[in-house]
Symmetry: C2
Subunit: 228 residues, 2 copies
């Protein structure tokens, strides 16, 4: 792994190569292993060398998230807006569960890549042509992304080992946990959410906002988060 190299001898480093090494390292050894020194070692290079391709560690983490969300590409064969949202949700979840150690990162740092924005724009168009008012369409997509993220973050495979639940004190929970399955829970809740969105669409003439929702104040800060 670590080549013996002179002082100015190129190692062929690239931002992309660094990000890919970082993702691989985090996948294999967890977020805590993700140090500049460790990534550099993985690439056969000293830590400071990375700083010629990445301004600092925070930017590197942002790059990792961008790298990840760019993997989320739902198949474009969407016959309905429901199908489109379903496909997006599953694709996003697949990306997250493929890199469980990085879910916390994705949850923390919004990524606004062109890829992300294009996906968002396409889904907004799909929802709008289905009758959703634009702001509502945006709400739908963002809510869906938040739901997927929350589900992935709460996935039990991520939880550290924890004390067993007292069956006597909490009989219902104890019994429920035994038959619980995260994947079917996700599908169930996703269908519920889609069902609710559809109901909102038919309830209001233009998928509108039932309660004369509060308008965003003029001092509101720019909201930059993409779907992921």
């Amino acid at each position: 792994m670590t080549a013996n190299r002179g002082r100015g001898q190129r190692a062929g480093l690239t931002r992309q190569a660094i990000l890919r090494a970082a993702v691989r390292l985090a996948d294999q050894e967890g977020l805590t292993a993700l140090s500049m020194r460790r990534i550099a070692a993985e690439l056969g290079v000293e830590a400071m060398t990375l700083y010629h391709h990445v301004p600092n560690k925070n930017a590197l983490l942002d790059g990792i998230v961008e790298q990840l969300v760019s993997e989320t590409t739902p198949p474009p064969t969407a016959s309905s807006w429901q199908e489109s949202l379903r496909a997006y949700a599953h694709a996003f979840l697949a990306t997250l569960t493929a890199h469980p150690n990085l879910i916390a990162l994705v949850a923390t740092r919004p990524a606004t890549t062109p890829h992300n924005l294009r996906t968002m724009e396409a889904m907004l168009e799909s929802l709008r042509s289905a009758g959703f008012e634009l702001t509502r369409a945006h709400d739908v997509v963002r809510s869906l992304a938040a739901f997927v993220l929350g589900h992935a973050a709460a996935h039990p495979d991520l939880a550290p080992d924890c004390p067993p639940v007292d069956a006597g004190s909490y009989p219902l929970f104890f019994a429920a946990v035994a038959t619980s399955d995260a994947a079917s829970r996700f599908d169930f809740a996703l269908e519920a959410l889609l069902h609710g969105f559809a109901a909102a669409l038919t309830a209001a003439p233009s998928g509108g906002r039932p309660g004369a929702a509060r308008e965003a104040g003029s001092g509101v800060r720019q909201d930059c988060a993409g779907p992921g």
Copy 2:
């Protein structure tokens, strides 16, 4: 803040006091300020002193999460299961938005406190008596918690500053963002989710699991996450 104290002179430290100081520090200065040295300094004490009340930093972080989720106490005046879930969702969201710097912590570490388990048990009972099959009731509560967590994590106030979106390339997103409001989005998606849960309840005779859902394998690990 830092008292001059001799070597064996008590500072009156307590696990509770430490946790409270840690929460306050994180609220004021962010997660990165949450170091053992920094917390200790806040209490007028050396870092190693904390280790007599808390085994290590991870346990301290777990303690913080327990502290937080114990704040989530929805009012017990629930006329329906929908009202009960709504109250819980709003209470949980209020807790999270009251400590935005700690959302990442709550998302990462499941807390299984007695307080949490009691809340879970009560909600399971409420849903079961409304007609939900037990496993479905569990799915409902867990999905709701995941949704709230995801929404809080994706809340734009947490996002670091980011480049403005190109209005020309992404006109729909650009227009939608301008009128977006996280609070109304939350209410909208929450109602959609509740609507979908209600639909699942009336669709199946016992709120059952429509697709002959996959049973949890026998080798499945104990699922310990509470609602928060």
